[in-house]
């Protein structure tokens, strides 16, 4: 690979990396001692300069860190998901301690996401089986959405501030619309069984000719909204497959199924620059770039796209746990992190095969 920047995080195994939405030279890494199993966490804030990538600031926490999200409204702030169930808001201008601490989750907080539209709220998901909606100015959550099982990842729709998605260990995507009445369903509008084949009398075929019969339910560890098609979500998880779904058709099965990872998929992220490109990080130590083939000819009825793996980055030497796209520049810079205590910044164009 042509160019790659590298930073080590000695003693801490990163779990998540995110580029700042404000600066092309700023990113942050959530990391934990001892692989997040027992021990402290550390948030690294990194800066890019002519000298390479450097640690500009670090914050220590008492328990492991599993995720982070940059504030969309203050370029110096970010929240982290903490192993003790708390969420901590750090400010780059304030040393050592968080400026806010939000502690309602009863088990590990696994993900956080800032509202990209209204910018005034963020959400978190937890092993306690809930998603909570927070204001950065209030210690108590604004709302709790029940999931009922370990929820590894939650996200806002990129186009609608009232729509929230969550994926969990029960193999389902849940979509909540906060505009609906609370009623008995707590804003839940859609549940998509990720493992299931489409409903209907006949099973569809994959683009390679094989029948797609779904699979056993498996934990979903990650998901992301397509940045161009606001009804498309990609998921990844323990069954090693990446799937895309249209939330308007919850029983229609996946739009695309992408196979290749040899262990669980820990993180997926759609490109902010192209509607059909996503990147994934896996326990198989690789980071892969995929096209879901949606930009080419439409899929024939009764068939499911298989996508195409268009690049593979295998420089990590332990589980690859986090990956994110840089919003700026020519479009293609990716940051990836892994349990090998490394942050790697690289240009995905450099490994595209097409």
């Amino acid at each position: 690979m042509a160019s790659m920047l590298e930073l080590r995080t000695p003693g801490f195994n990163p779990c998540s990396v995110k580029y700042s939405p404000y600066y092309d030279s700023r990113l942050a890494v959530a990391a934990s001692a001892n692989y997040g199993i027992v021990g402290n966490g550390r948030l690294f804030c990194l800066g890019l300069s002519a000298a390479g990538v450097q640690i500009e600031k670090a914050f220590d926490t008492n328990d492991a860190l599993y995720d982070l999200a940059w504030s969309e409204i203050n370029e110096n702030q970010l929240v982290v998901a903490c192993g003790d169930g708390s969420i901590k808001l750090f400010d780059l201008g304030v040393n050592d301690f968080p400026v806010m601490n939000f502690h309602e989750h009863k088990r590990e907080t696994f993900s956080v996401c800032w509202n990209p539209i209204t910018k005034d709220t963020f959400i978190s998901s937890s092993w306690d089986g809930t998603v909570k909606i927070w204001s950065p100015t209030r210690h108590e959550s604004l709302k709790t959405l029940p999931i009922g099982c370990c929820t590894y990842s939650t996200a806002f729709s990129p186009s609608n501030p009232a729509i929230i998605s969550a994926v969990s260990s029960d193999s389902h995507i849940r979509i909540f619309d906060l505009r609906t009445p609370v009623s008995a369903k707590y804003h839940l509008i859609t549940m998509i069984p990720v493992h299931a084949p489409p409903s209907g009398p006949t099973l569809p075929r994959l683009a390679d000719g094989r029948t797609y019969a779904g699979g056993m339910p498996a934990e979903i560890l990650t998901h992301d909204w397509n940045k161009y098609n606001d009804t498309v979500i990609a998921t990844g998880g323990v069954d090693r497959l990446i799937r895309t779904f249209d939330i308007r058709n919850p029983t229609g099965g996946p739009l695309a199924v992408m196979a290749g990872h040899e262990y669980a998929v820990k993180r997926v992220a759609w490109s902010p620059h192209a509607s059909d490109i996503l990147v994934s990080a896996s326990y198989d130590m690789t980071v892969r770039v995929w096209s879901d083939d949606s930009s080419s000819v439409p899929a024939a009825p009764g068939t499911i796209r298989t996508g195409a793996e268009i690049g593979l980055m295998n420089r990590h030497t332990e589980f690859a746990t986090g990956v994110d796209w840089c919003l700026f520049g020519s479009g293609g810079w990716v940051a990836s992190v892994g349990w090998d205590e490394r942050v790697l910044l690289w240009d995905a164009h450099g490994l595209l095969r097409r």
Binding site: V38, G83, G85, M216, A218, L221, D239, A264, Y283
Partner: protein, 419 residues
């Protein structure tokens, strides 16, 4: 928020081999697998006249337990519990089995218990011990089974039914003799006399060949016992090292001449039903991590077991229901299995189950079964483990199932992997 929860959660994310199906999953080697590091049995001899006719069950068990210490080389003080399946012993045999363990060389710190799930007692003992290890209750244990039908088989085996039981029709069915209900079942399910005789003859022929080829050598441990010669009345010491129920020259035709035992127009007779026998078997179990720490040789792994209930009068169909259930638990299919050890209580029920499940004949009891060498009730379930694992290993195959029907209407099955 415990570290162990986090670790286990990560482990689950890694080990779920959903994409590659159930067989790959059960072939995986993980530190918390329950593995077999030694398994063996005594010879199985004919009830009433065989070479063990004067040997009490506890002596057989003591012999098998002594042998398992020798064969595995394990320090007996590391064995925390021994479960012995035994069916006919008065008082469950609890006292004499504890004594047998002490005789075999286990210290007083090794606990012993007996259990009775009829013909599956030996398997249940192995499964119980495996589950005790899995939950962390013990580190190392022995699942065993024994029966001396010579000394303990008789009318005393079942207590008289109360009026309450007698007046409940399904409950009363529980005491219908095996032969009678199997006869009814064979008729009901249309298993012909000829097909039963052919199956039984095949069992004899397979066992004769296996014995001649020395295929039982690895599993059988020779035992020195006292034997009273019925002719001279003289008691002498003999070494028993081969199954004496296996008869050469048995064919479907020769079996066809035997008169049915339970009904005039019946199909079941002594030649196509399991023999009344004496024998003992034992299986040493522990976690893979423990085995590696102790330097024990791993010969196989226990994967999962199932237990089901069926109608008491149709007890013979037990394996037909238990085997699919254990497949469900393990995610494998019938084609993933290389060898099925299905106890031949009666040719009729074993054959019917195999046909219903679509199991090819060549995969069932390749060294013969209880029709050829006997069914010492409590021993059989533990006996099947060594019969299965050594044969899988000899053939270079991996996945095996042991199963049996259980009196009063139950079935049990277990999946094992040879390594």
């Amino acid at each position: 928020m415990g570290a162990l929860d986090r670790l286990q959660s990560l482990g689950n994310q890694l080990s779920s081999a959903v994409g590659t199906g159930g067989k790959a999953k059960i072939l995986e080697k993980n530190p918390d697998d329950i593995v077999v590091t030694a398994c063996l049995r005594t010879a199985i001899t004919k009830g009433g006249k065989g070479q063990f006719k004067d040997t009490p069950a506890a002596d057989l068990m003591a012999g098998a337990l002594t042998a398992i210490i020798q064969r595995s080389g394990i320090n007996p003080s590391l064995v925390e519990d021994i479960a012995v399946g035994t069916v006919l012993a008065p008082g469950g045999g609890a006292t004499e089995m504890r004594a047998a363990a002490l005789v075999a060389g286990f210290p007083e710190t090794t606990a012993v218990r007996t259990l009775n799930r009829q013909c599956s007692s030996g398997l249940q003992a192995c499964v119980d011990v495996a589950n005790q290890i899995r939950t962390g209750m013990i580190e190392v244990g022995i699942g065993a089974g024994v029966e001396s039908m010579s000394t303990q088989y008789g009318p005393g085996a079942v207590t008289e039914f109360s009026d309450l039981l007698e007046n409940h029709s399904e409950a009363a069915n529980c005491k219908v003799p095996m032969g009678v209900l199997s006869e009814a079942m064979a008729k009901d399910r249309g298993v012909s006399r000829a097909s039963q005789d052919a199956f039984a003859a095949a069992s004899f022929q397979k066992a004769v060949k296996a014995q001649a080829d020395g295929l039982f050598k690895e599993e059988i441990v020779p035992l020195k016992v006292k034997f009273e010669d019925p002719k001279s009345g003289e008691t002498k010491e003999i070494v028993v090292d081969r199954d004496d129920g296996i008869r050469d020259g048995v064919t479907a035709e020769s079996l066809g001449k035997i008169r049915a035992a339970f009904a005039k127009d019946g199909s079941i007779h002594a030649g196509n039903a399991s023999q009344v026998s004496d024998g003992a078997a034992a299986v040493l179990l522990m976690k893979r991590s423990t085995a590696e720490k102790l330097g024990q040789t791993i010969i196989g792994k226990f994967v999962a077991a199932s237990i089901v209930g069926v109608k008491p009068l149709l007890m013979g169909i037990g394996p037909w229901k238990a085997i699919p259930k254990v497949f469900e638990l393990t995610g494998i299919t019938k084609d993933d299995v290389d060898i099925y050890e299905i106890n031949e209580a009666f040719a009729s029920q074993c054959l019917w189950c195999a046909n219903e499940l679509g199991i090819p004949q060549e995969k069932i009891n390749p060294k013969g079964g209880a029709i050829a060498f006997g069914h010492p009730l409590g021993c059989t379930g533990a006996r099947q483990v060594s019969t299965l694992l050594y044969e899988l290993k000899r053939r270079g195959q991996q996945v095996g199932v042991t199963s049996m029907c259980v009196g009063t209407g139950m079935g049990m099955a277990a999946v094992w992997v040879a390594e």
